[in-house]
């Protein structure tokens, strides 16, 4: 299946094109999307942890919009980049670790937003609140996803 994917017309073209809109351009878009997804998520996480506390938390209610735009971009470009080197990437454990970290980060972000903005949103008391723990977890998981993604270039 992996080699069939890699030999498809699109994958072959992407892998072999040296145009700027070939592999390098798609990888560049993937990096831009990473900045939007992780950056937007980090803004909410850091605000929950007390950075820029003058900013009303409610104003970050729609932070999920840029996140989903960036995520859609990266799911698309990521799928194309995967197809272009499916045989190598599909057998790398670090690739599956990256997918797992992204899925966990999205779940944690969803829980955090429901806790902050959902119908049953709870006001946090003093001390390390559940929202703060979710925010730390989100930062750790997204950082882990970046680490795993970067290491894909170095692992066999």
């Amino acid at each position: 299946l992996l080699s069939w994917l890699q030999e498809s017309a699109l994958a072959t073209w992407v892998a072999e094109s040296d145009r700027f809109y070939g592999y390098s351009g798609i990888l560049t878009l993937h990096t831009l999307g990473l900045a939007v997804v992780v950056g937007a998520s980090a803004v909410l996480d850091l605000r929950v942890l007390g950075v820029a506390h003058r900013m009303p938390l409610a104003s970050l209610r729609h932070v999920s919009r840029p996140m989903w735009i960036g995520f859609a971009l990266n799911a698309t470009t990521g799928a194309i980049l995967f197809a272009a080197a499916a045989v190598i990437k599909g057998t790398q454990w670090i690739f599956y670790a990256k997918l797992g970290l992204i899925a966990s980060a999205l779940l944690v972000d969803g829980r955090l937003r429901r806790r902050l903005f959902g119908d049953r949103a709870e006001a946090d008391g003093p001390g390390p609140s559940p929202a703060k723990r979710l925010a730390v977890l989100s930062l750790v998981l997204w950082t882990g996803a970046i680490v795993a993604g970067r290491l894909m270039a170095y692992m066999e």
Partner: protein, 166 residues
């Protein structure tokens, strides 16, 4: 300029620091890349939030409150200056003839000039803004220019690996 850059590169490559960086452990370069990528996400996310506010989005939030987030951008930028200097010092010949790297330097200069102009001339106009009011055109231009410049820095930076001249 090219010959000046070349003599600087030759001098830099001969320094003990450059040779030590060039001979560093195999994990040093990937680690610096990871720092560079985490830093860029912090920079683009927090600077981008402020830029969007300058463009007139989420007007009910005071600009000064969103501006507090630019501290995070400064931290991200610091991470990228540190890791970026490591790259250049360790492998200066990978960059000095690379058009993508020069494009990145150009975009960085635009972003820097924009920040300097904002801090000296424009930031005073923030205090006069009423809550919910649209931002004046000058602030919109600064916000848009910042977004374009940082996207340019990121994209040309990513392309460095693909436009190696030989």
């Amino acid at each position: 300029v090219v010959s000046l850059a070349h003599s600087f590169a030759a001098w830099l490559a001969a320094t003990p620091v450059s040779q030590a960086f060039g001979a560093s452990a195999p994990w040093a370069w990937p680690l610096a890349e990871i720092v560079h990528f985490v830093g860029l996400a912090l920079l683009v996310g927090s600077a981008g939030a402020f830029d969007l506010r300058l463009l007139g989005l989420f007007r009910q939030v005071p600009v000064s409150a969103v501006r507090d987030f630019t501290r995070v951008a400064v931290i991200g930028f610091g991470m990228n200056v540190a890791s970026g200097l490591y790259f250049v010092i360790a492998q200066v010949w990978q960059y000095v003839d690379n058009p993508a790297w020069w494009a990145k330097v150009g975009f960085l200069a635009v972003a820097g000039l924009n920040i300097a102009l904002f801090e000296t001339v424009l930031s005073g106009r923030i205090a006069a803004l009423q809550p919910g009011a649209d931002t004046p055109r000058s602030l919109k231009i600064a916000g848009a220019l910042s977004l374009v410049a940082w996207c340019g820095v990121l994209c040309s930076g990513r392309m460095i690996a693909f436009v190696r001249p030989n």
